[in-house]
């Protein structure tokens, strides 16, 4: 079922919180330079999946393989040095540090010595250059999300897990972010994108998986997903509740 040596392979992943199975045998893979969309109703396990891959939670079962190496249970900073990074749904920059310091500390500790990142250029590419000397707490939420992304990119990652980057952006900003993400993927970085905005997902992803109750219920292109009976049921059901 998996292609030859994917960058990331998740197999039968289980994560429990008390009696609740947030992830219940989840399996999927991701190739280098690919953008994979992950969609599903609230509570379907999207963010938990990112938290497990990025080392915030240790998995309770199943395996996570990154570049051929089992990484389940490693600490965040170890995963970062292997080439995995992420953004947060509610952005978590270092609030009292400046934008530049936020990125510089990640470059210094999470970056690869042989592969220095030009922080000025990185900030410019995410439209943060004019804010470089500001404290992160002075930024608005959308700018803080970009700062999360800048911090992730400063560590020269091979895989970035993106948790709802697009929420709260206006259409012009959305378009620029989409273009930027595609550019990042073209440079060989794999992106796992969790997003509620279906248009955004449709524009940037090569492939999507749909989660429900910690399990994958669909895998394929977005156009097929919206015609899939089970996917439609899950989303309509979720909307009834909400």
């Amino acid at each position: 079922m998996f292609p030859e040596s994917p960058l990331l392979a998740i197999d039968g992943l289980v994560k429990r919180f008390g009696g609740f199975r947030a992830l219940d045998g989840l399996s999927f893979y991701l190739r280098e330079g690919e953008i994979l969309g992950v969609v599903g109703p609230n509570g379907s396990g999207k963010t938990t999946c990112i938290n497990v891959i990025s080392g915030l939670h240790a998995p309770d079962g199943g395996s996570v393989t990154f570049a051929g190496r089992a990484i389940g249970g490693l600490k965040s900073h170890q995963l970062v040095r292997l080439g995995i990074n992420r953004t947060f749904q509610v952005p978590r920059p270092f609030m009292s540090l400046t934008v530049r310091e936020n990125v510089a500390v990640a470059e210094a500790y999470g970056g690869k010595p042989q592969e220095r990142v030009d922080i000025g250029a990185l900030l410019a590419s995410l439209e943060l250059a004019p804010l470089a000397g500001r404290r992160a707490e002075e930024l608005n939420s959308a700018q803080q999300k970009m700062l999360d992304l800048a911090r992730a990119l400063a560590t020269s990652p091979r895989l970035v897990l993106i948790d709802e980057l697009a929420a709260g952006l206006n259409p012009a900003e959305l378009e620029r972010v989409a273009a930027r993400l595609k550019e990042i993927a073209r440079s060989g970085v794999a992106l796992l994108v969790v997003e509620h905005l279906m248009g955004f997902i449709q524009e940037i992803t090569d492939r999507v998986i749909v989660l429900n109750a910690g399990k994958e219920i669909f895998e394929g292109v977005m156009d097929d997903a919206i015609r899939d009976k089970r996917v439609v049921e899950v989303f309509l059901g979720a909307e009834d509740e909400g």
Binding site: S54, G55, L56, K75, S76, H77, V80, R81, N85, R86, F88, R92, P93, F94, M95, S96, L97, E101, N102, A104, V105, A106, A108, Y109, G110, G111, R151, A152, T155
Partner: protein, 306 residues
């Protein structure tokens, strides 16, 4: 000129020079010595609280461990003051290592647990059952090694080393990493920072500083009771001084000690309850109206405080 060198030249050198000359022009040497002790301890608090966000409410435990390490080495091993100082520092470091599991706790839990640890050490040291080792509640007397002017010089050297360490933290990437941990430990992990190691290093540095200071304090005053060197006031003063000036800066704790210790001596110790009242009100006002210290007043005016 690099910032580190500039800070050393314009903060460290004048400070140490002033305190080195002071005994020649000012008669109250004990006050000057205590000033040095509190500047060092306030910087120690600065390293733990200012840079990593953990408030060690039992910081005095390291000070006391250093003082008793020094004293026991002198009394039982007949060690020279410098060897005894090293053993005092070692005692504080070992206590610090023993307490590293406390870092699993968050904010208030950590503060309470570290306070309990310091009080536990006090209870052990002052217990009459251990009189043959620690002299129990009756305190120690080290008249054999009494040498206040040499002890003063050594205390000054410890302060110099401590301030230099803070200057380095303020300018080096390790200091930035510690601040990142303070701001958000999860994000710090995503910046590739080994959060546990960073915290432990800062903690042990602070323990070492307090242990050395406690040792040199024991040497200088040479006669003291367990309650003297494990007094909760030591922690509180160091915290209040550091907070009043402003943490995560080089100058904040120095200014805090200089100003508040000055007030302390102006109020006088003859009526401790009025002093306690003024101090309590000062602490409350500080938290309610100036939670980021004096330096935040300057920062608001756009001054970059080192």
């Amino acid at each position: 000129m690099p910032r580190l060198l500039r800070h050393a030249l314009f903060i460290l050198v004048p400070l140490i020079a002033a305190l080195a000359i002071a005994p020649a022009v000012y008669g109250n040497h004990l006050l000057l010595f205590n000033l040095i002790v509190f500047m060092t301890l306030a910087q120690g608090i600065n390293i733990v609280y200012g840079f990593t966000g953990y408030l060690p409410f039992g910081y005095v435990g390291f000070f006391g461990a250093g003082a008793y390490g020094f004293s026991l080495a002198v009394m039982h091993l007949h060690a020279s003051p410098f060897a005894a100082l090293a053993l005092g520092a070692l005692a504080a470091l070992l206590l610090g290592l023993g307490l590293t599991p406390l870092f699993r706790l968050s904010g208030a839990y950590f503060a309470i647990a570290s306070l309990a640890a310091a009080l536990a050490v006090l209870q052990i040291v002052s217990n009459p059952a251990l009189e043959h080792i620690t002299n129990g509640p009756y305190g120690v007397s080290l008249s054999g090694v009494f040498d206040p002017s040499l002890a003063y010089a050594v205390a000054l050297a410890i302060l110099a080393g401590t301030v230099l360490l803070v200057i380095w933290l303020r300018n080096a990437r390790f200091g930035l990493a510690l601040q990142a941990i303070r701001e958000d430990a999860i994000s710090a992990g995503m910046a590739g920072i080994n959060v546990v190691r960073g915290r432990v290093i800062a903690w042990l540095l602070a323990a070492l500083i307090a242990g050395l200071t406690g040792g040199v304090y024991a040497w200088y005053i040479s006669v003291f009771y367990p309650e003297t060197v494990f007094s909760g006031e030591v922690t509180v003063f160091a915290i209040v001084f550091a907070l009043f000036g402003g943490t995560a800066t080089i100058l904040g704790p120095i200014l805090g000690v200089a100003i508040l210790y000055g007030i302390y001596n102006a109020i006088g110790i003859s009526t401790p309850q009025y002093f306690q009242l003024v101090y309590g009100l000062l602490i409350m006002g500080l938290v309610l109206f100036l939670p980021n210290g004096l330096v935040s007043l300057l920062r608001r005016r756009g001054v970059d405080v080192p």
